[in-house]
C-alpha cells in the first residue's frame, strides 16, 4: 500500500468554518492547522505539551494542539488566535497585552491569548495569584511574566466594564 492510501478525510470546524482536509491519521492538530489550513498563528514550541505555545480552544476550552491528533477533532469546534481580533479590532485582552508590554518575541503570545480568552470568561474577577497559576501552563522566555499578569488584570477590568454596559 502506498502511504497516501492511509490518508483519511476529515471535516473540521475551525473558527466557525467547516474545513475539509485529507491527512495521515498520525498528523497532529497543530500541523494540520499550520500546514494544511495555513493558520500559522498557532505556534509549536516543544511538541511535548509543556510550553503552551500551541494552545487553541477546543469547544471553548484550552487544549494543546501539539498533543492532539487532528482525527480526534471531528465534530469539535476549534478556535485559533486568528479569530480573536474582530474586524481588525484587537480584543480587550490583546489590547491590554499591547498597552502593558506583555509580549516581546511574541512566539508564546498566541498560546497565552487563547488560554486567557477562555479563562476570563470562566473567571471574570481573577486575583493575581489565580492569574499566575493559570499562566504557569505557558512558558515565556522574554518577559518575566510581570507585564503579562498586569495585562490580564487590565483586560479583566475592561471586560467587566463592557459587560456592565
Amino acid at each position: 500500500m502506498k502511504e497516501t492510501d492511509y490518508k483519511v478525510t476529515l471535516s473540521l470546524i475551525v473558527n466557525g468554518e467547516t474545513r475539509n482536509v485529507r491527512v495521515l491519521p498520525q498528523r497532529l492538530l497543530s500541523d494540520v492547522l499550520r500546514e494544511d489550513l495555513g493558520l500559522t498563528g498557532t505556534h509549536v514550541g516543544c511538541e511535548h505539551g509543556v510550553c503552551g505555545a500551541c494552545t487553541v480552544l477546543v469547544d471553548g476550552a484550552p487544549a494543546r494542539s501539539c498533543l492532539t491528533f487532528a482525527v480526534q477533532m471531528e465534530g469539535h469546534e476549534i478556535t485559533t488566535v486568528e479569530s480573536v481580533a474582530r474586524d481588525g479590532e484587537l480584543s480587550p485582552l490583546q489590547q491590554a497585552l499591547h498597552e502593558e508590554h506583555g509580549l516581546q518575541c511574541g512566539f508564546c503570545t498566541p498560546g497565552i491569548v487563547m488560554t486567557f480568552e477562555a479563562y476570563l470568561k470562566e473567571n471574570p474577577t481573577p486575583s493575581t495569584t489565580e492569574i499566575r497559576d493559570v499562566l504557569s501552563g505557558n512558558l515565556c522566555r522574554c518577559t518575566g511574566y510581570q507585564n503579562i499578569v498586569a495585562a490580564i488584570l487590565k483586560a479583566a477590568a475592561t471586560l467587566r466594564e463592557k459587560g456592565v454596559e
Binding site: 498520525q26 499550520r34 511538541e47 511535548h48 505555545a53 516581546q104 512566539f107 499566575r132 518577559t143 518575566g144
Partner: protein, 795 residues
C-alpha cells in the same frame, strides 16, 4: 561627542509597532515560511558521548516512501569547507571542524546523518531506520576528568583537552597577600545552562540554480556575518547569498553562529536544486543546539582590617563542551576582564582555563559574563563574614566613587559615567535594610529563615571594533545604517541589527525620528534582509542601542542636514543655519523662536527626487543617506540588585519575597522596551539560578532533554520586579546611549545566591554551587541546626 540634552522622541514611552501582528497570529516566523516544493530534513544524532562511526547503513531509510535521500558527513565534506578557528590569541589552541562528523562523534546529539524527505513526518520516520554502527569510546564529562593525565581527547588534533589558558597580573597580588590582615577565599560554581528560545532553530534554504544564488531564510541575530560564513563555507561569493531573517522567537545568543545543521541544509538545497526546510525539535534544541556557562571559580582576596581589598586573584575553569563555534576564551575572558567592576582594586591577577568535554558545545548566552557579579559581590560577602563586618559597609569602603572616575581597571578597561555607589545606596534605601534585619530576626525566632542579598553590576556593553582588535577576535563592532526619505516624504531606514524579540522597531524609529526631525510613526525601520540592510554586525553583547540606535541617529542627523540644505534653497536662503526639521516641517529661528516656514519634508523630498534641476549647486538628486559608526571599545552600564527570599528549611524551597533593581543604563531610547528587557533579564537569571540545569550522567547521556526535565521558571515562581531607573548619559556616544539587557542576568544570579546564603547563615551554609534547587539545599542542610543566640548583625 556633542549631545542634545532635551530630546523630542528619544526617551518617550511609545508602544511597540510589532505587537499587532504578533498578537493576532500574523507574525511570520521561520516555520511559517512556506517555499513551494520544499523538502524537509531530519538529522540522525549520536546516542553516545564519544564514539567512532564504524559504518552507516542508509538503505532501509532510502527505500521508504517519500524519502529523497540520506546524506552523511562524507557528502557534506565534499560540498562545504571546514570551519577553522585560529585567532592569534596566546594560549588558545587552533581548532577545526567538518560540517558533519565523518568518523567520530563527540557528544550525545552530535549529528551523523541527514534524511531528506517530502515532508517532516516521512523524514522523521526514515531517520529512525538509518543504522549507524558505533564503537563507543571513553568520554570526559567534567573538567577534572578532561584534564586528568591520560584523559581521552575530545579533539584528537589537540595535545590535551585544555583548549585555552590565559593568565594576567597587574600590580602585585602575591605581595598584597603576604602583607594582608587576612586572606579570604571563596568559591563560585555556575552550572550548565541552555538558552531555550521558545522558537527553536530552523532554516529554509532556497537554491536558485538558474541564477546560482542561495536565499537562506533563518532566524538570526547576525544576518550579515552569517551570510559571510555561509558563502565562505559553501565556496560561494558573498553576492551569491541572501540571508533573510523573519520574526525570531527569541535568541539570547543561541542564534549567532552558523551551525552545522544550517550549513548542511543550505548545501543540500544546492545539491538537490530544491528548497529544503529544517525545523529543530525541542529535544534537539535542548541537547544539541548550544549550551552555556558551567564554570568553576575561586577567588583569593587580601584585605585590611576594615575589609578594604588590597589584592584579588581569580581562578576560572570553564567546561566548553565538545565543539568551538567561538574562540574558547571568548566568554571567560570577559568575566576576568571586568571582574573588579564596581570596586577600586588595583592589584589583580587571573588565571583562566577552558577545557573541552564530551558535551554539547558552549556559546554566549544572555550575559556570557553572567557569573561575574556573583563572584565579585560573593567575595565581598565572604570578606564580611570572615572579618565580622557589615557586608554593605565592605561594599561601600571598596566602591568606586564619582571622584575615582574615569577609572582604569587593573585590566586596562576604562569606566566612566557610571554610578556604582549611587545605585547601591538607592537599592539599600528602597529595601530599608534596618527594617528587613528586624523582620529577619523576628522570623528566625519563629523558625522562618529570611535572607537579603545585594549584588552590584558593572555591565560591559556595545563592544566597539577596538575591543575586537585588542582581544584578537576576528570581527568588528562598528555598525552601518541608511536613512532614505522617499519622494512622498515617507521615511525608510535600515541598520545591520536583527531583533529576536526585544522590540527594536519602535526605539530605533525614535532614534531616526530624533535625528531627522519627524514623528516616529513616519519611520519604518527594516532589518534582517541582507540585500536591504547595510552590512552590519548584528545583535549581540548589548550593542543594539548604542551601535544600532547610535548609528541610525547619526545617519538621520546627516539626512536632516541634507534636507535643510535643499530647504534653504527653496526658501531663498544662502545657508541652512537657523533652520531645523521638526515634526516633518522646516522651521526657522526668527526673533528667538522657531517659526514655521511652510516648507514640509514632503516638499523637500519632491524637489530632491522630481525636480533635481532646481537643486542647489553641488547637491545630487534623491534623499538617500548612509553612514557607518564605530562606537567606543566598550560602554558600561551599572546597577544594584537586591533580593529578599525565604527558605523553607523542611523542603529547601526558595521563594522570592521582593526584588529591587536600581539601574543606570544611560540615555534610554524607549523606557517601555528597556523595562521589558530589565524584567526579562532578571527573570532569566533567577530561572537559571533556581531551576534550570543541563545534566549529563557520567556516560555523557543528557538527562534533561525535555522541558519537563530542563525547568524554566513559570509565572508562579517569579516575583514582580521593582525597577528604579537612574540615567547618567555616556559622554562618548551619540545621544548618551550606553547599552543594557544583560546586566539583569548578572545581578539576579548574584543577588539570589547571596540572599539564600544570608537566610541560611544560622546554619553555617554558604551557597557555592548553583542551581539552588530544593535537593541541593536539603543536602547542604541535612543534619544541621540553626545556631541559637546568634549575635544580631550590626547595621
Amino acid at each position: 561627542m556633542t549631545r542634545e540634552e532635551n530630546f523630542t522622541h528619544i526617551g518617550k514611552p511609545l508602544l511597540r509597532k510589532e505587537d499587532r501582528r504578533l498578537l493576532t497570529g500574523h507574525g511570520r516566523f521561520l516555520d511559517d515560511v512556506v517555499l513551494p516544493g520544499a523538502l524537509h530534513v531530519c538529522f540522525v544524532r549520536a546516542p553516545h558521548a564519544h564514539a567512532r562511526i564504524a559504518a552507516i547503513d542508509t538503505s532501509a531509510a532510502v527505500d521508504m516512501s517519500g524519502v529523497v535521500g540520506v546524506f552523511t558527513g562524507r557528502d557534506l565534506a565534499e560540498w562545504t569547507t571546514k570551519l577553522r578557528l585560529a585567532p592569534p590569541i596566546e594560549g588558545l589552541q587552533p581548532v577545526e571542524m567538518t560540517t558533519l562528523p565523518v568518523d567520530r562523534v563527540r557528544f550525545y546529539g552530535d549529528p551523523v546523518a541527514c534524511v531528506v524527505a517530502e515532508d517532516r513526518y516521512a523524514a522523521e520516520d526514515a531517520a529512525e531506520v538509518v543504522s549507524v554502527e558505533y564503537v563507543a569510546l571513553d568520554c570526559v564529562t567534567d573538567t577534572d576528568a578532561a584534564l586528568a593525565d591520560g584523559a581521552p581527547l575530545v579533539d584528537e588534533t589537540l595535545p590535551s583537552n585544555l583548549v585555552s589558558q590565559q593568565s594576567f597580573s597587574s600590580g602585585n597580588p602575591a605581595a598584597r597577600r603576604a602583607d594582608a590582615h587576612a586572606v579570604v577565599e571563596a568559591r563560585f560554581n555556575l552550572h550548565r545552562h541552555t538558552h531555550v528560545p521558545l522558537e527553536t532553530r530552523g532554516c529554509a534554504a532556497d537554491w536558485d540554480a538558474g541564477r546560482a544564488h542561495l536565499t537562506m531564510h533563518i532566524g538570526t541575530q547576525t544576518p550579515h556575518p552569517l551570510r559571510s560564513q555561509l558563502a565562505s563555507r559553501l565556496r560561494l561569493a558573498e553576492n551569491q547569498v541572501t540571508v533573510i531573517s523573519p520574526d525570531v522567537g527569541g535568541g539570547f545568543g543561541q542564534k549567532i553562529a552558523l551551525y552545522r545543521e544550517e550549513l548542511t541544509v543550505a548545501a543540500l538545497s544546492r545539491h538537490l536544486e530544491r528548497p529544503v526546510h529544517w525545523r529543530e525539535d525541542r529535544l534537539e534544541n535542548l541537547t544539541a543546539a548550544s549550551h552555556a556557562r558551567e564554570c568553576h571559580c575561586r577567588t583569593r582576596t587580601a584585605v585590611d582590617p576594615e575589609g578594604r581589598i588590597l589584592g584579588l586573584e581569580l581562578e576560572l575553569m570553564e567546561d566548553f563542551g565538545a565543539y568551538c563555534f567561538y574562540p574558547a576564551n571568548y566568554m571567560a575572558r570577559v568575566v576576568a576582564m571586568i571582574l573588579t567592576g564596581p570596586y577600586r582594586i588595583s592589584d589583580y591577577a587571573f588565571e583562566v582555563k577552558v577545557a573541552l568535554t564530551n558535551k554539547c558545545g558552549n556559546g554566549p548566552m544572555r550575559a556570557p559574563m553572567a557569573v561575574t557579579s556573583w563572584i565579585m559581590d560573593g567575595t565581598i560577602e565572604a570578606i564580611a563574614r570572615q572579618l565580622g563586618l557589615d557586608p554593605l559597609d565592605v561594599r561601600r569602603i571598596n566602591a568606586l566613587t564619582q571622584d575615582d572616575l574615569p577609572y582604569t581597571m587593573a585590566t586596562g578597561e576604562v569606566l566612566e559615567d557610571i554610578t556604582p555607589l549611587e545605585t547601591l545606596e538607592a537599592a539599600a534605601s528602597k529595601i530599608d535594610v534596618a527594617a528587613f534585619r528586624k523582620r529577619q530576626a523576628e522570623a528566625r525566632k519563629q523558625g522562618r529563615f529570611l535572607g537579603l542579598g545585594f549584588c552590584s553590576v558593572v555591565e560591559s556593553t556595545t563592544y566597539g571594533s577596538a575591543f575586537y582588535k585588542a582581544a584578537g577576535i576576528p570581527g568588528s563592532g562598528h555598525e552601518a545604517a541608511w536613512v532614505r526619505i522617499e519622494p512622498s516624504g515617507a521615511v525608510n531606514a535600515s541598520v545591520g541589527l536583527m531583533g529576536t524579540g526585544q522590540g527594536y522597531e519602535t526605539p530605533l524609529a525614535q532614534a531616526v525620528a530624533e535625528g531627522l526631525g519627524v514623528p516616529p510613526d513616519l519611520v519604518n525601520v527594516q532589518m534582517g534582509h541582507t540585500d536591504i540592510a547595510p552590512y552590519g554586525m548584528g545583535s549581540r553583547g548589548g550593542r543594539g542601542a548604542t551601535a544600532g540606535g547610535g548609528t541610525l541617529y547619526l545617519c538621520a542627523r546627516k539626512a536632516q542636514e541634507r534636507v535643510l540644505t535643499i530647504a534653504a534653497c527653496m526658501l531663498n536662503l544662502n545657508e541652512p543655519t537657523n533652520l531645523r526639521l521638526h515634526d516633518g516641517q522646516v522651521e526657522r529661528m526668527l526673533d528667538g523662536r522657531w517659526q514655521c516656514t511652510g516648507v514640509a519634508l514632503a516638499d523637500v523630498a519632491k524637489r530632491a527626487y522630481l525636480e533635481p534641476t532646481s537643486l542647489p549647486e553641488g547637491i545630487s538628486p534623491g534623499l538617500d543617506v548612509s553612514l557607518t559608526y564605530d562606537p567606543p571599545p566598550m560602554t558600561y552600564s551599572n546597577a544594584t540588585h537586591a533580593c529578599e527570599v525565604e527558605v523553607e528549611i523542611a523542603t529547601g524551597r526558595v521563594s522570592i519575597d521582593r526584588y529591587v533593581v536600581t539601574e543606570d543604563c544611560g540615555t534610554v531610547l524607549n523606557p517601555v522596551v528597556v523595562r521589558g528587557q530589565q524584567q526579562g533579564a532578571v527573570a532569566m537569571g533567577l530561572s537559571g539560578a533556581l531551576f534550570e540545569q543541563v545534566i549529563y550522567d557520567e556516560s555523557g547521556q543528557n538527562l534533561t532533554a525535555t522541558l519537563a526535565d530542563y525547568l524554566v521558571a513559570t509565572a508562579c515562581e517569579l516575583p514582580d520586579f521593582e525597577i528604579f531607573p537612574m540615567n547618567t548619559p555616556n559622554r562618548r556616544t551619540p545621544a548618551g546611549i550606553k547599552g543594557m539587557s544583560e546586566g539583569g542576568v548578572m545581578g539576579s544570579i548574584g543577588s539570589v545566591a547571596l540572599a539564600v546564603s544570608d537566610a541560611l547563615a544560622p546554619f553555617g551554609v554558604v551557597v557555592e554551587q548553583l542551581p539552588i534547587s530544593p535537593q541541593s539545599l536539603r543536602t547542604a542542610l541535612r543534619g544541621k541546626r540553626p545556631e541559637t543566640g546568634e549575635k544580631e548583625r550590626m547595621e
